[in-house]
């Protein structure tokens, strides 16, 4: 496999031929108060249609990276190019699926209302959704297998259903780049598998998917590339190359340990988001 630097050279070369991918160059993003950097000098390229897992300890800047890519947080330094042009030139290009805990589930909206919000970006001011917007919403709901839930208030849904609603909304945005923040946290195995299958399908349609996750097994087996992040980029490339003992030690520090020739990452604190179905909360086991 090629090294990081070689990879970049290759993708830059590729971009001159078909500039349809995401390029991040020397990106630094500060926290709200501006005193500390959440991301520092991050550079990487994601070719179109690639499926990338972003892995790192809590506070590594995964969410910050996503929010910077969708243009939510202004960079201190560096640039983000989508299709070779700065973000903002094409506003419906990237869709962001938030973490479930960031959503107010008691808000009086139903499933269809939430998915329709994905269309608002392409609707001008004072305009109400058209027939084609409704059709796109319907299609997105069916794609996520939640057509029957269209009229249900979002507060009545299970965790997996809630995740699907927000994925359906992202689909309704018809993005080129799909960003999902911890989508596998707290969902059942069936929903997780369903989402991975959908990602397969989206990939064949040329959509770039960037997903943050704590599940390194998943990152290693179901993704084309992995990005190991801890404020800076620790490693980027094929998962097998990224998840080496050395890299994990660098990313997770004292939380990573060597046991019987395998690297274990201890992420028991802070707990709440790690307790999830089908996964041991304290230890994540890694194949080398």
């Amino acid at each position: 496999m090629r090294t990081n630097a070689q990879g970049q050279r290759e993708t830059i070369h590729k971009s001159q031929m078909s500039p349809s991918h995401l390029q991040i160059h020397d990106l630094s993003v500060a926290y709200h108060n501006g005193t500390r950097l959440a991301l520092e000098g991050v550079s990487f390229d994601v070719p179109q249609g690639m499926r990338l897992a972003v892995v790192g300890p809590n506070g590594a800047g995964k969410s910050t990276l996503f929010k910077a890519i969708v243009g939510l947080l202004p960079p201190e330094r560096g640039e983000i190019l989508i299709h070779g042009t700065p973000y903002g030139a094409h506003k419906q290009c990237a869709a962001y699926v938030p973490q479930r805990k960031e959503v107010d589930w008691s808000f009086p909206v139903n499933v269809q209302d939430v998915v329709m919000m994905g269309r608002y970006g392409s609707l001008s001011w004072l305009k109400y959704p058209s027939k084609s917007d409704h059709a796109i919403v319907k299609r997105s709901l069916e794609q996520m297998n939640i057509g029957a839930l269209a009229k249900r208030p979002i507060g009545d849904l299970s965790g997996g259903q809630q995740q699907r609603v927000f994925l359906a909304r992202a689909l309704a945005q018809e993005p080129h780049i799909l960003l999902m923040d911890e989508p596998f946290t707290g969902v059942d195995a069936a929903t997780q598998e369903g989402m991975l299958n959908l990602l397969d399908k989206l990939q064949t349609q040329g959509m770039t998917c960037i997903v943050s996750t704590h599940d390194m097994n998943l990152a290693a087996t179901r993704f084309d590339r992995a990005l190991l992040l801890n404020q800076r980029i620790i490693a980027y490339g094929a998962p097998a190359q990224v998840f080496t003992t050395e890299n994990l030690l660098r990313a997770f520090g004292a939380h990573a340990m060597l046991v019987d020739g395998q690297t274990l990452v201890d992420e028991c604190c802070p707990p709440d988001e790690h307790f999830q179905i089908g996964e041991s909360p304290e230890l994540e086991r890694l194949e080398e």
Binding site: H32, N33, K67, V70, G71, L72, G88, K91, Q92, A94, A95, Y96, P98, E102, V103, D104, F107, P108, V109, N110, D113, V114, M117, G118, Y120, G121, L123, W125, L126, Y128, P153, G155, R169, Q173
Partner: protein, 293 residues
């Protein structure tokens, strides 16, 4: 019975008071939905109290008191928006600072007015029976502007309230929308000055909308139900005020509060009784399923 209802309306001041109270009730209840959903109840209260210095200055300069109130409310609303813009200061802190400052400034200014001719109780608790025809026109005009804005910006305000992250992703001008909402709240507060007064307007912004929140599951329905509750509370409150000879603003707010507690207890899905019933149903279901096994 009919006479019971029509008799108070024989007076012109009662008719005007009734129309004003209904308009204000509907307006506050509709904009109040956003206040409740965005957790801005404290903000409504702050804007209401911020009116005081504006009223005092207008009085000293012998200008229109409503215009003074409007300017003060808008300044404080935008001031809060400005202080919290970069996230350096939390919103409740910014509100706490400006709220107290405006109130103090108001008290200081009023204490300089030697004559005290300005009737503070009217500002604090409203004087719905003193509404003039020109007041009615002003209330109707400003109220219409607020309601139309809510209608026209429905999807933008919905998205910026429910999911500011998506709003930013879609490149909506979130700051502008946030400030628009603050201005709408400020306008509603000023319009309510005459009917319920500074002290109680926060209740009109919050109580009917909170009641509607318990009764409905979708925003448009919540707004309609909230408006109906606001109108009902205003009408009932005025009759209570007339027959029991109590302050009109207080009567309106107390009626709205009774409705809220009714909903809190008995609302489907969200009421206390429903939850107790749900627990009982689940317990029954469990015994049945164990029996089946």
């Amino acid at each position: 019975m009919i006479e019971f209802l029509t008799q108070p309306l024989a007076y012109g001041f009662m008719q005007r008071g009734m129309i004003a109270a209904i308009m204000v009730g509907v307006l506050c209840s509709v904009i109040g939905c956003y206040v409740v959903l965005r957790g801005m109840a404290y903000l409504g209260d702050a804007i209401a109290h911020a009116i005081l210095p504006g009223v005092a200055i207008a009085y000293i300069l012998q200008g229109d008191i409503l215009i003074g109130a409007l300017v003060a409310a808008l300044l404080v609303a935008l001031g809060i928006g400005f202080l919290t813009r970069r996230g350096t200061i939390k919103q409740d802190t910014a509100i706490g600072i400006l709220f107290a400052a405006a109130l103090s400034l108001g008290v200081a200014l009023i204490s300089t007015i030697k004559t005290y001719a300005l009737d503070l109780t009217h500002i604090l608790f409203g004087n719905v029976l003193g509404v003039s025809n020109s007041d009615l026109i002003l209330i109707a005009g400003l109220g219409l502007v607020v309601l139309l804005t809510i209608l026209l910006l429905y999807k933008e305000l919905l998205i910026v309230s429910f999911d500011p992250v998506l709003a930013a992703t879609l490149r909506l001008p979130t700051e502008l929308l946030k400030n628009t909402l603050l201005i709408l709240i400020a306008l509603s507060v000023v319009i309510s000055l005459q009917t319920v007064g500074v002290g109680l307007v926060a209740a009109m912004l919050v109580t009917p909308a909170a009641t509607a929140f318990l009764l409905t599951r979708r925003l448009p329905a919540m707004m309609v139900v909230s408006a109906a509750l606001g109108a009902f509370a205003s009408i009932t409150g005025l009759y209570l005020s007339y027959y029991l000879n109590i302050s009109s603003g207080a009567a309106v707010v107390l009626t709205a509060t009774s409705l809220f507690f009714g909903a809190y207890l008995f609302a489907p899905h969200r009421g206390i009784v429903w939850h107790l019933g749900g627990r009982a149903r689940r317990a029954n279901g469990r015994t049945e399923s164990t029996n089946a096994e």
